[in-house]
């Protein structure tokens, strides 16, 4: 949420201000994130919604300082009151896994194929809490039971390839939760799963989040997933948050023309025979940081004033913000 809307929040879990990420290689320059402000309260679930190339995954990785060396990260990031940008490597390795954990889209590549599930969980516990191996193994079993893996005891000795996709994703959640992080970052964790398994994992994440009181930032391109899990949503386009608000009001009526287009282009039940509304054109290339409204070339409402500069964040009702000059402040 932008600073305009929530001036005096009590110690937010995540506070990012004017976050920018620039990838510069010999071949090309990409302005992936161009000024993102994020706030997340304890125990809140925020969904970053956007299409590929909108900067949602890069934003998520920046919060954990997981981006490669050639990425230039600007702005300030505070997680649990600590300045992430200023952390040293050794501070970071305590921070990652301890305060913040991440789950990825593809559990098969995120888990280590040569260690058993139990060992990978216990390793995290040993590393962060300095407990004995036996204690760590016992915690691993508890965690597998927590993520509702059936016959957990037997599965401790299983290698990642021996599990089905749904169980593997549960195992990865168990690794992430091993040290009771305050913040869980999830990068499309259910995209690769079947529908019947996806809903199981979403419900599990929601349940664990409530039980453990974690803050969660959940990256997805699927509006339905956001509808199931989010408290708040932030829609990203060309490296900026263009609309933000509570999930209910957002789903009932998005304000930004891009968010409206995204909702209109999503196939709902009962649209048979109707023509789908599409967003013409393609997202901008981001070789240079956008200096105007990045969506204006594709926008039906665009007018010369849209090219005057980056639209400011307009407050629009309680907890809502949009970056569009055509939306009048509420």
């Amino acid at each position: 949420m932008s600073a305009v809307l929530k001036p005096a929040a009590a110690q937010p879990l995540v506070r990012a201000r004017d976050l920018t990420v620039l990838f510069k290689t010999r071949d090309r320059t990409v302005h992936a994130v161009n000024g993102v402000d994020l706030d997340l309260a304890q125990g809140e679930v925020l969904c970053l919604l956007g299409e590929s190339g909108s900067g949602k995954s890069v934003t998520l990785r920046a919060l954990m300082k997981l981006l490669p060396k050639q990425a230039k990260v600007g702005g300030s990031i505070e997680v649990a009151g600590r300045d992430v940008q200023a952390m040293s490597e050794s501070q970071l390795s305590d921070f990652r896994g301890g305060d913040v954990a991440m789950i990825f889209q593809e559990p098969m590549t995120a888990l280590d194929p040569v260690f058993t599930i139990g060992r990978q969980i216990a390793e995290a516990v040993q590393r962060h809490e300095g407990v004995s191996r036996a204690t760590a193994d016992a915690r691993a079993l508890e965690l597998l039971e927590l993520v509702q893996i059936p016959s957990a005891k037997r599965r401790l000795a299983a290698y990642p390839h021996e599990l089905s996709g749904g169980l593997r994703q549960r195992a990865m959640i168990a690794v992430a939760l091993a040290c009771k992080p305050k913040l869980l970052l999830a990068d499309e964790p259910t995209t690769a799963l079947d529908a019947t398994v996806q809903i199981q994992v979403l419900l599990l994440l929601r349940e664990l989040q409530e039980k453990l009181g974690m803050g969660v930032i959940f990256v997805t391109h699927d509006l339905g997933v956001a509808g199931e899990i989010a408290d708040r949503v932030a829609v990203m386009y060309a490296g900026r948050v263009v609309e933000e608000g509570g999930v209910g009001p957002f789903m009932a009526g998005p304000l930004h023309p891009y968010a409206q287009g995204l909702l209109g282009a999503t196939v709902h039940p009962g649209m048979r025979g109707k023509r789908l509304t599409t967003i013409p054109g393609a997202p901008p290339g981001l070789e240079t940081a956008p200096t105007t409204c990045a969506f204006s070339p594709r926008c039906a409402l665009a007018e010369p004033a849209c090219l005057a500069g980056v639209p400011p964040a307009v407050p629009a009702g309680p907890g809502r913000m949009t970056r569009c000059i055509k939306v009048t402040a509420a």
């Binding site: 299409e51 996709g165 749904g166 199981q200 209910g248 039940p269 789908l276 393609a282």
Partner: protein, 358 residues
């Protein structure tokens, strides 16, 4: 089929209708494909993956048949069998009244002619294009193989590019890596149409695309179907997309057909418990109607070792003794709507089954 067109060019036209409007375009019965798993020192066959295990379906002329199911249910293997990229172990395919895969002695439709009338679009738009061919070479490739002179094939490629909404002057000389995912999928669709097929098999054609691009491609598919008089087999795991595009829907579970019928029947009155669970698994966009209980627990079983009797019984809330003993046959409910579940078959012995009329 090649004919001379009025402007003197040889060009393809769609093969004529032979069987009449009531004859299904493609009728498949008892299709089986098992993949052997070899192991041990001598590479003996140790097990078999029952990927497709007795699938029967019919695709009517001019309709879109949606095929849905979870990963491992055999929907992509079915697509490859329909395209004859894989040879079925058993089963018969009849294309517009002619048996597919016949030879000169038995009559029928040779595979080469069948493949001209049936084309396929794959999920991975990049992997299914040759990276060393330009877009126009890719689209013109199949017509050239079938005897169209080079310059005419290229001209035809330009027409098709325009038909899928890409400016030929701008795109014809580009290579696949210079295009976005949505543009590449349009190229794949254009290539599939280059031989003027009658049936197009679409295997998850929009699953890898962003939502706004997905909508563009779905609109394009609807337009092309009208323009070229096509019939589609549309395979997807996305139930909303299948509902949008299909006339009839076939639900697969572990290599078998669980239920099939007209799209409104399947979505409004699903008969099979698996179909109901699948429909209930769709995330709702409305946060006020969030689910608290998942409709199904666990993952689909391994098709190497499917459960006895009804294959869904291990995850089914209605499973009873009969479900483990006997496999439910596919049985008709209302016109064109059939399901394979003991609970809907009169007199099957399941407690929820309708009573047999005396």
């Amino acid at each position: 089929m090649t004919v001379a067109s009025p402007n003197g060019m040889t060009e393809f036209i769609q093969a004529p209708d032979r069987g009449g409007p009531a004859q299904p375009l493609l009728e498949v019965s008892g299709l089986v494909k098992h993949f052997p798993i070899r192991g041990g020192l001598l590479g003996r066959q140790v097990a078999v993956v029952r990927a497709v295990d007795g699938v029967s379906l019919a695709i009517k002329k001019g309709e879109t048949l949606g095929i849905v199911g979870e990963s491992g249910c055999g929907k992509s293997t079915t697509a490859r069998l329909l395209m004859r990229l894989l040879d079925p172990d058993a089963g018969e395919m009849v294309f517009d009244g002619e048996k597919v895969g016949a030879n000169d002695q038995t009559g029928g439709l040779p595979i080469r002619d069948y493949r001209r009338q049936v084309q396929m679009v794959f999920q991975d738009s990049y992997a299914s294009l040759n990276p060393r061919l330009t877009i126009e070479e890719t689209i013109a490739f199949a017509p050239k193989v079938h005897g169209v002179p080079g310059h005419e094939a290229r001209e035809r490629a330009h027409d098709l590019l325009a038909a899928v909404g890409l400016a030929p002057g701008q795109f014809a000389r580009r290579y696949p890596h210079e295009l976005s995912g949505g543009q590449r999928q349009r190229i794949n669709i254009a290539r599939a149409l280059a031989l003027q097929p009658r049936l197009v098999i679409l295997d998850e054609p929009v699953s890898a695309l962003d939502k706004s691009v997905e909508a563009q491609v779905l609109n394009l598919l609807v337009d092309l179907k009208d323009k070229f008089g096509l019939t589609y087999a549309f395979i997807s795991h996305d139930l909303n997309v299948v509902q949008y595009i299909s006339d009839r829907v076939l639900v697969m579970y572990l290599g078998k057909v669980a239920e099939q019928g007209p799209v409104d029947e399947i979505y409004d009155r699903p008969a099979h418990p698996y179909t109901r669970a699948l429909l209930a698994s769709r995330p709702s966009m409305d946060p006020a109607r969030r689910r608290t209980e998942p409709p199904l627990t666990g993952d689909p079983p391994n098709p190497v070792n499917p459960p006895s009797g009804c294959r869904f019984r291990t995850r089914c809330v209605m499973a009873e003794g009969i479900c483990a003993e006997r496999e439910p046959p596919v049985s008709g409910l209302t016109a064109g709507h059939e399901a394979a579940c003991h609970a809907v078959i009169p007199g099957s012995g399941h407690s929820a089954a309708p009573k047999v009329a005396a």
